[in-house]
Symmetry: C2
Subunit: 236 residues, 2 copies
């Protein structure tokens, strides 16, 4: 079975603030039922679980998104996860290291789903900016931080090979939603208490570009220091 990761836009286009919503959530969901992303103007952190798209906004509120909500950047796939193992008592860095070692697939894209209880969960979300949009580093400097303790929920992560840093975030890029919807967002740090870890390896990256967005088409990325800016803004 072919397993495809569909990505609309690139992480790189967020860096200079090309934040126009260029695909609707309705269109995006035709390509998958699990995913992560952000809204127009960096309008919150998105997580898609079993076909339902949720937004964690800059105030930390969780909302179900409508099909006409638009995104500048998102990654989705048709969920076909396989159970890897149940992991317990791991800090984030140790968790990622353990998965990386178990999978030994540094050169392909894959997704992780972790359903469990987290002793600590630290996330961020940013407020929607208006045109002229802020750059990614400017926006991330104004992020709100949220911290949960002993919280049940679901983590969705995408691993991208180093070669694709800029198109995506090299390494792991993870979002979270609490089971009771009390918190969520882009994960900065966590401690896993216990969780079932599932994985899905992709043989294909379907990279879609916003070719009808004149700002994207004509932008000169030469001065944007894409790699460094993404590493700064998306650091765990």
């Amino acid at each position: 079975m072919t397993s495809v990761l569909y990505q609309h836009g690139t992480l790189a286009l967020l860096v200079p603030g090309l934040l126009k919503g260029t695909m609707t959530m309705g269109e995006l969901l035709e390509h998958g039922d699990y995913g992560i992303g952000t809204g127009e103007g960096l309008d919150g952190e998105l997580i898609i679980l079993a076909g339902k798209a949720y937004q964690v906004n800059g105030a930390g509120q969780v909302k179900l998104l409508s099909p006409d909500f638009t995104v500048p950047f998102a990654s989705v796939h048709q969920g076909d996860y396989q159970v890897l193992a149940t992991y317990q008592d791991l800090a984030a860095a140790d968790f990622y290291q353990k998965v990386t070692t178990a999978l030994a697939s540094p050169n392909v894209f894959y997704s992780l789903k972790v359903q469990g209880t987290f002793r600590k969960m630290k996330t961020r979300a940013v407020d929607k900016t208006q045109p002229p949009y802020a750059t990614l580093v400017e926006a991330s400097e104004k992020q709100s931080i949220f911290e949960g303790e002993n919280i049940a929920g679901t983590l969705i992560s995408y691993y991208s090979p180093e070669l694709f840093h800029g198109a995506a975030v090299a390494g792991y890029h993870s979002h979270f939603l609490a089971a009771d919807h009390s918190m969520g967002g882009h994960i900065l740090d966590f401690e896993l208490a216990t969780g079932q870890v599932e994985v899905q390896v992709f043989d294909t990256l379907e990279q879609h570009f916003p070719i009808t967005d004149a700002d994207y088409m004509s932008h000169d990325f030469g001065e944007d220091e894409i790699g460094n800016s993404i590493s700064t803004a998306e650091a765990e």
Copy 2:
């Protein structure tokens, strides 16, 4: 209409010599009728025109390929070119600059097809190497050079955004086949006498990885200096 560039493998995997044929030509042609690539062990330079796949081998001979021929890396698409213009009397650098200016699409993938007469055409092809395979730079040092004058034929080129250097060759990557099949290969330089230039812009890159190749899956690309090696080996 959605226009998709399908790529099997990455330019990066050629750099350390991961040259096993991991897709058949038959499978590849299901994804397009125009394209370029190379065979297992860098077995020549490939060009696909109107559904027919040709190889220019290290001796400069042009052969029609069978469906069971295998490739480590190739790019193909369903041809739906639009005529851009007829260009005359242009050196290669001036030709590429003129197309780049006319299209003003630095941030998306596109293909060029030029049918015309070339005052000069300079190409290269390398001989098939056997395991343990040579690196891309080693192989390109042993390339054969071919030069034609006042030669009619077809140029197929893919333009890749800078962000994807490594996955592909940033900028233009062009192959040639003479109308009388007397020469062809990876283009190093040319002078166009007169040619009809056609273009096709892609909104999607469908990047396929050889996930069943254990050597690819486990390779550590950290030491390979991918960007520099590709620039050295693929320079026009």
